[in-house]
């Protein structure tokens, strides 16, 4: 009888040792992973349109400052502002002007045209603002032949509710009018472009910076002129092209020094040149209210 309990005791002792070792290892791992926290990353969260540009800039910035660690995440303009407000993000990315009730500081890092894109086989070269609005309302204009194109129905592609690109499109083109319920909804610039590339009847809108370079090289989608003006660096910068929106970095008050350094880098000559190379238009360095 006592033998058995002895055996049990031994076994439990061994078990206990194993347990203690395991717990210690777990704690140590936890501590180690936490200690990295001293170099807290600078979180940049927001607009999916700005994400690829911010990622590129952050890579360059991290290369120049090995001690810095800028992390970029998507999620959408509104999510970015929300993240700044709740201190999750140091910098929010917002691809539209701030609303009045969003009382945060912002700095324009670049300007972006909203490109209206169609399939490369579409014979249309340009549309007026009014025509674009009518197309997306989907009541008076429903076929390409009505705007001088082929005999195909128009399939409009929009972005999901809350997207910065959608809001910019609403403000610049639709004003107070609703986009048709028939519009296909895609959740990213890339998805919109993918659809337009493959569908001869499609029309969509997306960040000009994202579409410019590739459209020229691959020629799978065509960028339309609006009111007779084709979006280029010159026409977007001068404001001639009617669909221009800002890319904003949003902060709550004064950002922490490292975040400020990143913003300064983006606004500096090398940063702005990088953005320009990627198809955006350099900001005039003014702070929008």
């Amino acid at each position: 009888m006592s033998n058995i309990s002895d055996l049990n005791d031994k076994r439990t002792t061994r078990m206990r040792v194993v347990m203690i070792v395991m717990v210690t290892v777990a704690m140590a791992t936890l501590c180690l992973s936490c200690s990295k926290d001293t170099e807290r990353p600078i979180n940049v969260i927001g607009s999916t349109s700005m994400q690829p540009f911010a990622e590129m800039l952050s890579q360059e910035f991290n290369k120049r400052h090995p001690d810095a660690n800028v992390e970029v995440q998507g999620g959408g303009s509104t999510a970015g502002i929300e993240a700044v407000r709740s201190d999750i993000a140091d910098i929010g990315m917002c691809s539209r002007y701030l609303k009045k009730d969003e009382a945060l500081d912002s700095v324009t890092i670049a300007l972006d045209g909203l490109a209206i894109i169609v399939h490369h086989s579409n014979p249309i070269q340009e549309l007026s603002l009014q025509q674009i609005q009518d197309i997306f309302v989907g009541k008076t204009i429903t076929g390409w032949s009505q705007v001088g194109g082929r005999d195909l129905p128009i399939r409009m592609i929009t972005r999901e509710e809350g997207s910065g690109t959608r809001e910019a499109f609403m403000n610049l083109v639709m004003h107070k009018v609703r986009i048709s319920r028939k519009a296909l909804t895609q959740e990213s610039n890339g998805a919109v472009r993918e659809l337009v590339r493959n569908d001869p009847a499609a029309i969509g809108y997306m960040s000009q910076g994202l579409v410019m370079g590739e459209a020229k090289i691959l020629g799978l989608e065509k960028i339309l002129g609006v009111n007779g003006i084709v979006p280029t660096h010159a026409t977007v910068s001068s404001g001639e092209y009617p669909l221009v929106r800002p890319f904003l970095f949003v902060t709550k008050g004064k950002p922490i020094p490292k975040a400020q350094e990143f913003i300064d880098f983006v606004l500096s000559e090398p940063g702005q040149t990088m953005l320009e190379m990627e198809g955006l238009v350099r900001a005039k360095q003014q702070v929008k209210p």
């Binding site: 309990s5 049990n8 999620g75 959408g76 303009s77 509104t78 999510a79 929300e82 399939r155 999901e160 509710e161 809350g162 997207s163 609703r178 048709s180 319920r181 028939k182 519009a183 296909l184 909804t185 895609q186 959740e187 993918e194 659809l195 493959n198 569908d199 009847a201 499609a202």
Partner: protein, 308 residues
């Protein structure tokens, strides 16, 4: 006697030795209790999720009125209009399509595996079909967008992103669920039914159709309903191939938005009432899925009591 022991040890609860003694004496019960606690935590998480979804979602349903929330077609979240009728129709249409495709394919697979396949081939084929369940849904969606959608657009018309495309993708996704549960149901039919049927001169096909399928009917229905549950809840693949319009679909070539894709599309942006309305969408989805699962459970329970 035992009660005395328990009483005595609770008095010495603070005493480590006594506590240790208590554990030794009641080892089995302690283990049972710990396991019970762990099991309950699984149920607790279900309860917490349910509570949370309903707490967030119900107020807006109550404020709008259930009928307006369910039957209005106006979804303009930024203007405070929340009507999810087209999405309910979308979810149901896509699920029905998936059931027709997945159900037919899955049941056929099950019949072939049980009745007309050499056992060696079954050993190879069944795991292959079950492997389909392990492919991530985003991969199904991607294949749908790259191959299925252009095919539909070019040969059948419409934008390609459609009820049909989602049904096919979902149908293939629920195939393993339907097949493996149907196989189990068919295997559970006592062999003497089959032997008896063959003995009185029925052909293989007559036996399958008149005897096996009839006997396994409730299990097969349960399999299809469980597959439906999965189809209703699937999100990623559907977002990619359904087109996500807010318009009611008029044909299977029209695009639709389902309840799940509505939540996933707008969740990351939504704040305030918009967010609550998405939770309310979740409540409706929850009710639908619970309803389907309850039916499946009831049917399979009936089957078991039938046997007795």
């Amino acid at each position: 006697m035992i009660e005395q022991q328990v009483g005595a040890s609770t008095v010495f609860m603070l005493n480590y030795q006594a506590l240790r003694g208590f554990f030794y004496r009641h080892r089995e019960r302690t283990i049972a209790l710990v396991l019970l606690a762990i099991a309950l935590s699984a149920i607790a998480s279900l309860a917490i999720i349910t509570l949370f979804i309903f707490k967030e979602g119900l107020p807006i349903i109550v404020r709008m009125g259930l009928d307006r929330f369910l039957l209005s077609s106006d979804w303009y979240p930024l203007e405070g209009e929340f009507g999810i009728f087209p999405m309910i129709v979308g979810s149901l249409a896509v699920t029905a399509g998936a059931m027709v495709i997945g159900g037919t394919l899955g049941l056929s697979c099950a019949i072939v595996l049980i009745q007309f396949c050499p056992p060696r081939a079954v050993i190879f084929l069944k795991p292959c079909i079950e492997l389909l369940a392990g492919i991530p849904s985003v991969v199904y969606g991607f294949i749908g967008v790259m191959f299925l959608v252009p095919l539909i657009r070019d040969y059948l018309g419409g934008p390609g992103l459609s009820v049909l495309a989602s049904s096919v993708v979902l149908g293939v996704m629920i195939l393993p669920t339907v097949t493996s549960i149907s196989v189990d149901a068919l295997q559970a039919v006592p062999p003497r039914y089959r032997e008896g049927s063959i003995a009185i001169g029925a052909t293989e096909w007559q036996t399958t159709h008149r005897v096996l399928l009839k006997a396994a009917r409730s299990g097969i229905v349960a399999a299809i309903i469980l597959g439906m549950g999965r189809a209703v809840g699937e999100t990623m693949a559907v977002i990619m191939v359904a087109g996500n319009t807010l318009e009611l679909p008029h044909s299977i070539l029209d695009p639709v938005r389902t309840l799940t894709s509505n939540i996933a599309l707008e969740m990351s942006y939504a704040t305030g009432d918009h967010r609550k309305a998405l939770f309310a969408t979740g409540v409706i989805l929850f009710v639908i899925v619970m309803f389907l699962n309850t039916i499946a459970l009831t049917i399979s329970r009936n089957r078991r009591s039938d046997k007795k």
